[in-house]
């Protein structure tokens, strides 16, 4: 049943894109895209610990492990910056790499496992979505990871709906948010927790490093054409959907990792569209200035 597998895999990838690019929108708006990078690496020790304690992959323990690790990571970044002369970027570079290293080391001591190993961390295992373990919802048999993804999309989008305005103000100017009496600390950590949820849901499928692509590429693409939330989010999502639909059959026929291929396509599309847009915009401005000179 190659075709049915392909459909579930595409659907899962699409759910990853929908969840991640939602959080990615706020991160790019705050000019903290690399927080996504930091979070995705630093979740690893939390996940391994949750796995060791609960003995299973997926489910609530993993979610809790991820949120705790994500909050710890953002807390440590803040603390190192506040307590010493170290700047934020360096502090980030210290915290997430150390946590990632710790996670890999823990993983090497736990031993290889079917679902959680270094390979999965590095590339994700979209191709090996355990399609057999299915959850029955409304008479349809969803594969478990897909169902989990859809659930986390529900959670993340609910909170984003509730706190959209606050997140936007926070991104626009933290000082303004503070002066309006918004709990900026709480909002920051809430955003980090939501991003952690989005990342952990996608982690098994796309791995720690490619997930950044799912976070940042779609909203950056959308920003080239739109300035409203809806426009940016939906156009980014359309671009991801296009890459997914193209990448899955390609990966099947050439035996390549679909997650990598999706990101490669998104990246290429972004760079090409960016270049075209940039060239046309410079030509327009040249035309304008030429016309301006003519009139003068």
């Amino acid at each position: 049943m190659l075709t049915q597998d392909a459909i579930w895999i595409s659907l899962s990838a699409f759910a990853v894109a929908a969840t991640c690019s939602l959080m990615g929108y706020y991160l790019t708006l705050r000019k903290q895209s690399l927080f996504g990078d930091a979070l995705s690496h630093s979740l690893l020790p939390g996940l391994v610990l949750a796995f060791v304690i609960s003995g299973s992959i997926g489910g609530l323990p993993m979610l809790i492990g991820a949120i705790v690790a994500g909050l710890l990571c953002s807390f440590l970044i803040e603390e190192i910056r506040n307590q010493s002369h170290i700047k934020e970027d360096t502090s980030m570079g210290i915290v997430f790499t150390s946590m990632f290293a710790l996670g890999v080391l823990m993983l090497s001591q736990v031993g290889a496992n079917v679902h959680l190993d270094t390979q999965c961390v590095l590339f994700g295992e979209l191709l090996f979505v355990p399609l057999e373990d299915s959850v029955n919802v409304l008479g349809i048999n969803f594969p478990e990871p897909t169902a989990q993804l859809i659930l986390s999309f529900g959670i993340v989008s609910l909170f984003c709906k509730l706190f959209h305005k606050e997140f936007i103000i926070l991104a626009f100017h933290e000082g303004v948010a503070k002066s309006l009496g918004l709990p900026t600390k709480f909002l920051h950590y809430l955003m980090m927790a939501l991003a952690s949820i989005a990342i952990v849901a996608s982690f098994e499928l796309v791995g720690a490093i490619l997930v950044i692509g799912f976070l940042i590429l779609p909203p950056s693409f959308g920003k080239l054409f739109f300035s409203t939330f809806k426009g940016i989010y939906l156009s980014g999502l359309a671009m991801s959907a296009f890459s997914i639909v193209l990448a899955i059959p390609l990966s099947f026929s050439f035996n390549l990792n679909p997650a990598s291929l999706i990101i490669v396509l998104q990246f290429l599309i972004f760079v090409v569209v960016f270049t075209i847009k940039y060239l046309s915009s410079t030509r327009n401005s040249q035309n304008l200035s030429a016309r301006g000179r003519h009139h003068a």
Binding site: F100, A101, G213, S220, L256, I262, F270
Partner: protein, 431 residues
């Protein structure tokens, strides 16, 4: 330990040395995450080098392939960032993940062709010291020499370009050339350390040892060498741990050692370390207690013109709630020969104590006057603030205040501002 393992450990130590050394420039230029991007972006270059060297792990091919990829990624980052509403952070994230995805697709393809599996392309992801050959070691040694030598030859120019670009440009030092040169050295360093720490942790190898040095010194030159020392330590110990347990990849092992050194330095470091800061606040607190005690004793001296104060009165006036704490402060002051006891319940200030007390009261009253005259505070509201600020006024600030207020004699409450002359006038012995 065999010859072969010793070579691996030496290589990692050398790599640590050079990474910790160069990493300082990444830290001072706030480019840590740029290093992260370069680290990930060289992966396709490594694959191409691997392919071009006909599936042999030839370090020259891989080095120049990776260097090419680093240049392309850098150029793309320059192009994308700050244009069409794409900010530098987003551009870094996009390049990082995009290049990594291209690299991992290439790797999968190379693996699929069946020739890459055994030769250890995988080891470039998380690092494996045991894959470092003798050829690699000599390459690393030469590169170390080149990097250290070129930093010292152009030390002045590079330092100027990093700290003050505009000044450096105005002085005709060509900062743009030297920054590109520096970036190339950093990229070269990242590439050679891939076998030890892997693409994902490459930036940490540069950043963590260098960041550790902020707890030791503020001078660039000493930080360069300290960073090199910490890096070498991490490289040595990390490689050692990893080689003694085949399951442990070298990269995480090295990074965890350097993170451990970072945490220790953060706690015990002489420059702004946690412990040093706590010690500082503790010393300040003791100092303030002493000064408050003396000021209260001086109050009674001023009132009765007799150098004798009841302990009970000083206690009440000092605002200290805990009698045991007060007792401890009193004992400390007696030991320090600042006060002396007249029997059980009365104290007098020694000469030294009287000078300190007069100095404190002088600062207090001058500050009160300053607040009233210069900042238009109502006189009845300045006391509480002066009680806090009096401890912080240095001799230099005192001189400024004296000059601004043209050496006044009386504070806003009509009390005499003590000076050494007054003390002499009052017949205090020793003046």
């Amino acid at each position: 330990m065999s010859q072969y393992l010793i070579e691996a450990v030496i290589s990692c130590t050398l790599l640590g040395f050079i990474s910790g050394f160069l990493g300082n420039f990444l830290v001072v230029r706030k480019m840590a995450l740029f290093g992260d991007m370069i680290g990930h972006a060289v992966l396709p270059g490594v694959c191409i080098g691997f392919f071009l060297s006909a599936y042999e792990k030839n370090i020259f091919f891989i080095f120049f392939g990776a260097l090419g990829a680093a240049f392309v990624a850098n150029a793309l980052h320059e192009f994308l960032s700050n244009k069409l509403r794409i900010k530098p952070d987003a551009s870094l994230a996009i390049n990082l993940t995009g290049f990594y995805a291209i690299g991992s697709t290439m790797m999968a393809w190379l693996k699929d062709s069946g020739k890459a599996g055994q030769t250890g392309l995988d080891r470039y992801l998380l690092g494996q010291a045991s894959s470092i050959s003798r050829e690699d070691l000599s390459f690393i040694a030469v590169l170390t020499l080149i990097i250290v030598a070129s930093i010292f030859i152009f030390y002045k120019e590079i330092k100027a370009a990093c700290f003050d670009y505009q000044f450096s440009k105005a002085s005709g030092l060509k900062p743009q050339v030297f920054l590109i040169f520096l970036s190339s050295l950093i990229a070269a360093n990242v590439i050679v350390s891939l076998q030890a720490v892997g693409v994902i942790l490459a930036c940490a190898f540069l950043v963590i040892p260098a960041a550790t040095t902020v707890f030791y010194s503020q001078k660039l030159l000493s930080r360069l060498f300290l960073g090199a020392l910490f890096g070498a330590l991490a490289g040595f110990a990390g490689a050692f741990f990893s080689l003694s347990d085949a399951n442990v990849p070298t990269g995480p092992s090295i990074i965890l050692v350097s993170a451990f050194v970072f945490v220790l330095s953060g706690i015990f470091g002489p420059e702004n370390g946690w412990f040093r800061k706590k010690l500082g606040t503790w010393k300040d607190k003791r100092q303030h207690q002493t000064e408050d005690f003396l000021r209260c004793a001086y109050y009674f001296y001023e009132k009765s013109h007799e150098n004798k104060a009841q302990l009970e009165g000083v206690f009440k006036r000092s605002g200290i709630k805990n009698p045991k704490l007060f007792e401890r402060i009193r004992k400390r002051l007696v030991r320090g020969k600042v006060i002396k006891m007249n029997g059980e319940d009365s104290v007098s200030l020694t000469d030294k104590g009287l000078t300190l007390a007069a100095d404190m009261v002088r600062k207090h009253r001058l500050w009160e006057l300053y607040l009233v005259q210069m900042m238009n505070f109502p006189p009845e509201r300045v006391h509480a603030n002066a009680e806090r600020v009096e401890h912080l006024i240095t001799d230099k600030i005192l001189k400024e205040i004296e000059d601004t207020l043209s050496n006044p004699d009386v504070d806003p409450h009509g009390k005499v501002i003590p000076s050494l002359n007054d003390l002499r006038k009052h017949g205090v012995p020793g003046y």
